[in-house]
Symmetry: D3
Subunit: 253 residues, 6 copies
Amino acid sequence: MTSNSLKKRWRDGEITINGWLCIPTSWTAEVMAHAGFDTLTIDAQHGLATDLTAILPMLQAIATTDTVPLVRVAWNDPAQHMRMLDAGAQGIICPMLNTRAETEAFVQACRYPPQGYRSIGPLRASLGDEAGYLRKANDEVLTMAMIETADGYRNLEDIAQTPTLDALYVGTWDLCMTMGLEKMADFDDPVLLGMLDTILNVAAKNNIMAAVHCGTPENAIKMREMGFQMVTPLTDTFSLQQAIAEGLRKLRD
Amino acid sequence: MTSNSLKKRWRDGEITINGWLCIPTSWTAEVMAHAGFDTLTIDAQHGLATDLTAILPMLQAIATTDTVPLVRVAWNDPAQHMRMLDAGAQGIICPMLNTRAETEAFVQACRYPPQGYRSIGPLRASLGDEAGYLRKANDEVLTMAMIETADGYRNLEDIAQTPTLDALYVGTWDLCMTMGLEKMADFDDPVLLGMLDTILNVAAKNNIMAAVHCGTPENAIKMREMGFQMVTPLTDTFSLQQAIAEGLRKLRD
Amino acid sequence: MTSNSLKKRWRDGEITINGWLCIPTSWTAEVMAHAGFDTLTIDAQHGLATDLTAILPMLQAIATTDTVPLVRVAWNDPAQHMRMLDAGAQGIICPMLNTRAETEAFVQACRYPPQGYRSIGPLRASLGDEAGYLRKANDEVLTMAMIETADGYRNLEDIAQTPTLDALYVGTWDLCMTMGLEKMADFDDPVLLGMLDTILNVAAKNNIMAAVHCGTPENAIKMREMGFQMVTPLTDTFSLQQAIAEGLRKLRD
Amino acid sequence: MTSNSLKKRWRDGEITINGWLCIPTSWTAEVMAHAGFDTLTIDAQHGLATDLTAILPMLQAIATTDTVPLVRVAWNDPAQHMRMLDAGAQGIICPMLNTRAETEAFVQACRYPPQGYRSIGPLRASLGDEAGYLRKANDEVLTMAMIETADGYRNLEDIAQTPTLDALYVGTWDLCMTMGLEKMADFDDPVLLGMLDTILNVAAKNNIMAAVHCGTPENAIKMREMGFQMVTPLTDTFSLQQAIAEGLRKLRD
Amino acid sequence: MTSNSLKKRWRDGEITINGWLCIPTSWTAEVMAHAGFDTLTIDAQHGLATDLTAILPMLQAIATTDTVPLVRVAWNDPAQHMRMLDAGAQGIICPMLNTRAETEAFVQACRYPPQGYRSIGPLRASLGDEAGYLRKANDEVLTMAMIETADGYRNLEDIAQTPTLDALYVGTWDLCMTMGLEKMADFDDPVLLGMLDTILNVAAKNNIMAAVHCGTPENAIKMREMGFQMVTPLTDTFSLQQAIAEGLRKLRD
Amino acid sequence: MTSNSLKKRWRDGEITINGWLCIPTSWTAEVMAHAGFDTLTIDAQHGLATDLTAILPMLQAIATTDTVPLVRVAWNDPAQHMRMLDAGAQGIICPMLNTRAETEAFVQACRYPPQGYRSIGPLRASLGDEAGYLRKANDEVLTMAMIETADGYRNLEDIAQTPTLDALYVGTWDLCMTMGLEKMADFDDPVLLGMLDTILNVAAKNNIMAAVHCGTPENAIKMREMGFQMVTPLTDTFSLQQAIAEGLRKLRD
Ligand SMILES: [Mg+2]
Ligand SMILES: [Mg+2]
Ligand SMILES: [Mg+2]
Ligand SMILES: [Mg+2]
Ligand SMILES: [Mg+2]
Ligand SMILES: [Mg+2]
C-alpha cells in the first residue's frame, strides 16, 4: 500500500475530485485513472462490477496511476468491507447507514484490533510492504459513511462522532427521495441546500471531512464553493451516454 | 424497463409458464428465451450464475425477446434484491422466508420510498426510460415470497398480507423436507396436495398470485389445473441431462 | 437472423450512422445500442473485445435493440469471419486488404457454397429461423472491404469488382500513413479528399456502397455531404475520454 | 496425460460414441462428461467456446471423468492445434481440409520432431507425467481429418495416406452443401450414402478409423451399422432445445 | 459426491495436510491438486476467488484428483455456506465465530432438516449420485469452526459442543492479534502455544478434530507433533513469492 | 507508453532478467511484477493466457510497476503481433521462425509504415501519450526472433540481418529436440553450448542482442557468464510446483 495521500491533502485544505466507475472493465477504469481524478470510486452497489472477478482488475488498472482507489460497497456487510480493503481499495464508502451502531459496525470492520475487528489477510493490499501494512493500515484506510436516509440524517451528529470515521458522504438522490423532496438532487432546492449545510457543519464540528455526490461538474463547482472537501462530478456511464447523445445530435439535426 | 406484462396477464386470468436457469451462460439463457416461456428465472440460489459477472449477460440475452426476466435470489439480502432489480430483473423470488417481518424486509427492499427502502441507482433497469422509471418501478416490479419452510407455512396468512407482495411461490422440495414428508415433491401425496391447496386459498383470499415449482411438465399440468397462476415445469440443466440420457439410451441398448 | 435492413435502407438512399465499440463489455454495448446508431461495429482488430468470450455478450446486448451488429475482424482470417457470422454479426468489415485475391478470400468466407466456402454451423445466427437461415444468409450478410493500404488503393477497381462484395470501407488513418501523408485523417487535406473521391466513384461505378471512418461528428457531416452512405463518427472510448476531460476542465479551471 | 484409451478400443473393434459441446461452460461440459460418452468434442469452430479462457475449464471438467476430451479446432492453424494439445485435448479434429498438403500441415503440427513440428510446452497435458509425456505424445495424440469439402472428397485417398493420421471425420452438413445436394444430412439420400461408403472404404484400406457427424441418435445407429467406428449423435445445444420444446409442447397443447 | 474420505482417515488417526488457494484460477488449483495435498481449501475470505465464477472451475479442477475440496467462506452467511456445498465443496471452514449461537447458525446451514436448515438444490454436489446425496450429505459434509477471536476463544467449550460440528480450525494470525500478542503467529511464543494446547484439549474432550493454520512446513511439523489432526503449511501465493524471491536472489547476488 | 528502458540498458551493458508468465491471472502477474524482474513475458504460446480477455489485465497488473511487459505470441501472425502491441506490450517474442522472409513478416508487422505494415490503433499503448506514440513506437517496440528450429538455426545469419530486428531469443527446448539432441536443454551438453555460442556470435556481429530460455537460475547464471544479455530463469508455474513439492517433502518425510 502506497501511503494514502488523501488524508494529508484534505488536512492541507485541498479539495479533491472523485470519479465514479459503473462500467465493469479494467479498460475503462484505466482510462478514467489517466484522466486526472484525485480518487476513483468503484460502485459495487449500483454499478456493474460487484465481485472481485470484476473489481480486482479495476483496482489494478487504477494502480497504474497515482489515483487513489475507493469502493462504494453494496451494503454494510463486514465481509465485503474487508475483502475490498484486502484487494487494495484505500477507502470504503458505505451506503444507507441509519444509526451510530451501524456506523460503528462499518468502521470497525475496516480497522484491525484493538480498534475494530478486521480480519488479517491483506493479500494484495500489503504487496510490497508486507512488514508495515498491519501497522499502518488503521491510519491509512479511509472510512466514509453515506448520509442518505431519513434515519441517517436524523442521527447525523451521532454518526459523525463514530471513532475513526473519516468522512460523511452525501447520497444526494436517496436523501432527496427518502426525505420526500419532489425533485431528486436539485442543487437549487433550498431544502436540499439546508440539509447539505447541516451535514457540512456537523462534519466540521467533528473534525471529519464531507463529500457529496453531485451528478454534474456544475453542481460540483457549487458544492466545492459551499465547502465540501470532496465532490463527485462525473460517472463513466453517464459521461459516455451524454457524449454519444451529443455527437449523434450533431448528425441527426 | 418495458412495461411488465405479467401482472396484467395474471389479472386477465392467464396462466404463465416459467423456465428455470441454472447454467451460467448468456447463450443458454438466450436459447431458453427463444423457446417461448412467459418468464425465465435466473436461479442465483442453487444455480451457478450468482453474481452480475454471470447474471448481467443472461439478463441481456433474455431481453432480446419478450420473455420477462426474474431472479431467484440466494437469500433475503436487500443488497442483492436491489442489485438484481437495478440490473434489469423485473421481479424477485425470495427463498426461505419464515415470517412476516422477513417478508416485509424483502418486499420493502424492492420498493422505493415511501413504500420501502430501495436505494436509487437503476443503472440498466432505467435504460431508455430514465425519466419514468422511478415513478413506475414500485408498480412494475414483482415480489414473490417463497413458502418452503415449516415456519413459512405456519405464518402463511401473515406473510400473504405483506403490503405490495405480489405472489407466493411454493418451494416444493424444501417444503416437503422441512415438513418431514417421506418423498420429495410427490405431487400425488395428499399431504403435499393439502398444503398446496391451503397456499392457493390464502393467496386467493389476499388477492395475490400463487406459483409453484413443479419439476416436470406433467406436474405443471396438474398444478395448473389445481389453480396455480404460474408454474415452473422445466430447468435448463435437468432438461439437458434428460435429453442426453434418453439419446444415449437409444444407442446403448 | 432478423432481416438485415441495412441493404434495403442503402438502396433507398438512406445514409446510415455507425458507432464503434472498443470497450469489451456487454454493458457499454447495450448503452451504445440504445443511443440510436443504425449500426454498431465491434472492433476486434484494435478494440479490446477480440474473442467470443467478450464478443458474444456484446452481440446479445446489441440484439436487445434494432441496431444492426457488425464486426471489424482483426485480419483476413476465414475462421474468424465465419465465427463472427455464426455468433450473429450481420456483416464483416475486413481490414488491410491489398488485392482482389485477398478480397475474394474474404468475401467467399462469408458466403455458403456455391458462392463461397463458408462452413455450416450458424449456431446463434439462425436462432429462431433454423429453417430459413441457410437459404437467406448469402443475401443478408454484409461484406465490407477496408481500403487503407497503398496496395489496396492501387487495386481499388479490381477489389471493388469482387463478386458479392457489398461495400468499401475507408480506413482513413492507415490510408494516410501508408500513403505517406503528413497528417493523419485531416479531412481538409486535398490529397486525402482526392482519394476519398476516387473511392466514392469506384464504389458508385461498381454499384456497391462506400463507408468511411471519420473520428468526429464534424468530419462525418462532411463525408455524408460528400456522398458516403455510411459514416463512423463516434467510438465509445474516445467519447468517454473527451466527456471526462471536458468535465474535469470545468472543475480544474 | 492418462493413456489415451481410444486407439486401443478402436483396435479392439469397439464403436465409440462422441458428444459435441457448443455451450461455453465448464458446468455443461461436466454434465455431459458424466452422461457416459466415450469422447466429448469441444467445438471451437461453430461452438461458442473458442479460446482457452472458455476451453481450459471445460477440459478440466471433462477430466473429472474417464471421457476422452477432443477439440474440433476452428481452422487448420498450427498454433491452435498445439495450444489445444498443450491444454490437455487428447485429439484434434481439423475441419475443411482440402488436400494432402493441408492434412500434412495439420498432422505434423500435432507431432513432435522428427515426425512433425509441434513446439515443446505441454503445460497441462504433461501434468503428472512430466517425464514421460514427450516420449509418448506422438503415439497417444489423435489426429482426425474432416472430409467435408468437394476438394477434400476428391483428394480422399491422398489425404487418408497422410503419415500418422488416425482417422477421417465426415462433416456431413458441409459435405452435402459443397457437393450441391438438395437436402443437408439426409441419411436416406443414396448420394450421401454412396459418399459415406466410399469414405469408409478408403479409411479401411488405409488402416485408419472413420467417424461421422450424425445429428441424431437414429442416424448414429444407421452409421454404426454401416461400419463407422465413431459416431456423433448428440450436441448439447440441440439436445437442450429439443427437450425444452418437447416439454413446452406438453403444456401448450 | 464421492464419499468424503476425510472423516474416516481422521478416525483412523491419520494427520492430514491441507493446501490453501488464494490465486483465482482453475489452473493453479489443478497444479496444487496434483501436488499431493489431502485437502485443498479455496480461501473465499482473504483469497481472490470469492464467487462461483472463479470458484466453480477451481472445484472442478480439484475434482480431477482425489484431493478433498474445502472452502473457507468469507463470513458466517448461510447463503454462501449452502452455495459452496451445492457447488461441490465437501466442507466449510467458517471464520470469525464468536459464540455458540453463531456456530449453530453456521453448522445448521450445512445440514438438511431436521438437523439444520440447508435448502435443497445440490446441483453439482449430487452429480452422479442424485438419488443418494440428500440421504448422505449430512454425514459427509464437514463443518469446521474457526477459533480466531477473543470471544471465540473465551466461548471455546461452548462452541466445541455444537451438535454435528466436525472440527475447530485455529486462525493463528487473527487469534494472536485479537489477543493482543506482540508477534503474529510466532509458534515459539508460550502464550500462543498455551492457547493452542487449550484448543486441542477442548477438541479432544468433545470428540471433534483440531486443525491449525501454520504458515510454513516447519510450523506444521510442530503442530502435527503437538497433536493437531490437520495442518495447513502452504499457500499458493506465498509459495510462489518465496520461490521467485529465492530464484532471483541467486541471480542478483 | 513509458519510454522503453530496455534498449538503453542493453546498450549500457546491463544484463536483464526476464520472468515467464503461464498462469492466466492478473494477480500472479502483479505478484511477479513486484518480485523485481527487469522484464516479464506473457507466454501466449504454451501458457494459458492467450487472448486479451486474460492478457489485458495481466498487462495492466505489470504496469503497476516499472517492469517491462513482453508477449511471446503463439505464432507468426501479424494480427496477434499488432494486438499485443496495441494492448501495451513493449515487445514481441515470436516463436518458430525458420527463414528471413518469416522474420521480415514478423518484424514489419510491429513497425508502422514506411518501415513495416503495422495498422494504426494503439488504443492502450498510447494512453497518456496519444500525440507522441505514432512517432516513437517504431523505435521503442522490441522485436525478438526465436531461434528454435533446425531451419531457423541454419538461416541464423540471414535472420539476424533482418532490418530493425532487436534480438535473437533461443528456444532451448525446441532447438534441442529439432536438432535431435538426446537431452532437452542440458546446458552442459557441448553440442548445445556450441549452438549457443554460434547464436551469440551472430547476434554480436549483427549488433543485436541475444536472449536465452534457461529453465533455472543456475542455468541462467551460466548463460549470463557466456554473454547473453537477457536470461529467463524462472516461470510462474514451475516455481509454484517446485516450492509446493519441496514444502510437502518436508512434511511427508
Ligand atoms: Mg444512494
Ligand atoms: Mg428451495
Ligand atoms: Mg485501419
Ligand atoms: Mg463442417
Ligand atoms: Mg483469520
Ligand atoms: Mg519453443
